[in-house]
């Protein structure tokens, strides 16, 4: 495949079968390899779509400052796009994200504003909104509420999966900005009667949930629960166990959030086996494991890896 520039090579990622982790020939698991995108994550789709939309609306001109709250992958995607397009990028990022993500952002020329570890992404969102209000000439693309995020998945991820897997019965993805699930989920629901759209939500250590009161909670503006069939909370132990299983049994070296998604996908597969139903379950491989090596997730025992992750935003 040939493209005129890196920006144009986003999407059209492989869908890869998992012959060893699939429970039977009737109940099959399929990995949507979003790690094959230009900067190595699913976020390239949303980031490039948000930039393209802002450009079409005349909001972005060379030299303009783009601002975004991000725990890493969206920032890296935006940093690449902004570098190529000539925009300055400021990422607001919780301090408990991995060093690789910071190095990548810096390498692409992005500036990083650090929000407190105890704040997690909620706090990054709050800080970014405040900076945006103080600097009206900056452009915040705002992945949590920008319809172009979900639209990118409606326009590309959904159709790609359906084309490769017309017999799809389940789609399983991670719940962060909710863009992947909302966009792909809406598309598949329109085309595939009865398809199940399943969310896997990372469950972090207690530090991350340290709100002062319940009303400080945050639900992304893009979220619409009616698109989902079910939503699972997956802790670090299961996410790590599945991440390792994926590389050991299928050779796919993925990030930790992918392990959480695989855990939910295998749960759905087991339900189908029990019910005696056929299933073709597509799940998202959000990114590769490279950016998480420093977290300790891949070294030592599961117990050691789990304790290394405590307090980190691992997805």
């Amino acid at each position: 495949m040939r493209f005129d520039s890196l920006l144009e090579s986003v999407g059209r990622t492989p869908l890869v079968g998992l012959p060893r982790l699939s429970p039977s020939p009737e109940v099959r698991l399929w990995a949507k390899m979003e790690s094959a995108n230009p900067t190595g994550s699913v976020k390239d789709r949303a980031a490039l779509a948000m930039v393209a939309k802002a450009e079409a609306e005349g909001l972005l001109r060379p030299g303009v400052t783009v601002l975004e709250p991000t725990s890493g992958n969206t920032g890296i995607s935006l940093a690449m796009a902004c570098r190529l397009r000539g925009y300055r990028l400021i990422c607001v990022m919780p301090e408990n994200t991995s060093v690789e993500r910071r190095q990548l952002l810096t390498m692409y020329g992005a500036e990083i504003v650090t929000s407190p570890a105890a704040g997690g992404s909620n706090q990054a969102v709050a800080v970014a909104k405040q900076l945006s209000a103080e600097n009206p000439d900056w452009v915040m693309l705002y992945q949590y509420g920008n319809p172009a995020n979900a639209q990118a998945h409606y326009d590309t991820t959904g159709p790609e999966i359906l084309e490769d897997l017309p017999t799809i019965t389940h789609f399983v993805a991670g719940l962060g900005t909710t863009g992947t699930l909302m966009g792909t989920g809406r598309y598949l629901r329109e085309k595939v009667p009865g398809v199940r759209i399943v969310a896997a939500e990372p469950r972090y250590g207690e530090l991350v949930y340290g709100l002062r009161n319940i009303d400080e909670g945050f639900i992304p503006e893009l979220y619409d629960g009616s698109v989902l069939s079910s939503r699972f909370s997956v802790g670090p132990r299961e996410a790590l166990r599945r991440t390792r299983q994926l590389v050991e049994e299928e050779g796919i070296f993925a990030g930790i959030s992918t392990g959480a998604i695989l855990h939910a996908a295998i749960g759905e597969a087991m339900k189908a086996v029990k019910a005696g139903e056929r299933a073709d379950i597509a799940f998202v491989v959000c990114d590769g494991g490279w950016k998480y090596l420093s977290t300790g997730a891949y070294a030592g025992t599961l117990e050691e890896a789990e304790s290394a992750l405590e307090g980190q935003l691992w997805a």
Binding site: S71, R88, L89, V92, P94, L105, T106, G109, A110, E111, I112, V113, T114, S115, P116, A118, G119, G120, S121, N122, Q123, V125, A126, V127, Q130, L131, Y144, G176, A199, E201, P202, R203, Y204, E206, L207, V208, Y209, G210, L211, R212, N213, I214, D215, E216, G217, F218, I219, P220, G225, L228, S229, S230, R231, F232, S233, V234, G235, L313, A315
Partner: protein
């Protein structure tokens, strides 16, 4: 019939600081009533005056979000595990001054 309920930090003022408490009930609504009888005030933090789950509270039965099961009418059985978590985008605690760190060459 005992059901373990994991309580987030923010609501432990109602459970004497306990991370997990036990309760009983055939449905989630019954369980919350039972918990409130020993941990007064907890129910008011989980359920709104209109009688639904608080918008920023997520409750999971065996790791599945109850909003996709039967909400407050979700059936419970002995040995189920219930987890209560605030809705976060990866967490929040207190507003703090942002610090700009080095990066890029502009």
């Amino acid at each position: 019939m005992a059901i373990e309920v994991r309580i987030p930090t923010i609501l432990r003022t109602y459970t004497d600081g306990q991370k997990a408490v036990e309760g009983k009930g055939d449905t989630l609504a019954d369980l919350i009533d039972d918990l409130d009888s020993r941990h007064a005030g907890l129910k008011g933090r989980l359920i709104t005056e209109q009688g639904g789950l608080h918008r920023f509270v997520n409750v999971y039965v065996n790791d599945e979000d109850v909003r996709f099961l039967g909400a407050l009418e979700t059936k419970l059985a002995d040995g189920d595990s219930v987890t209560v978590l605030p809705a976060v985008a990866g967490g929040a605690e207190r507003p703090a001054r942002a610090a700009v760190t080095a990066g890029g060459s502009f």
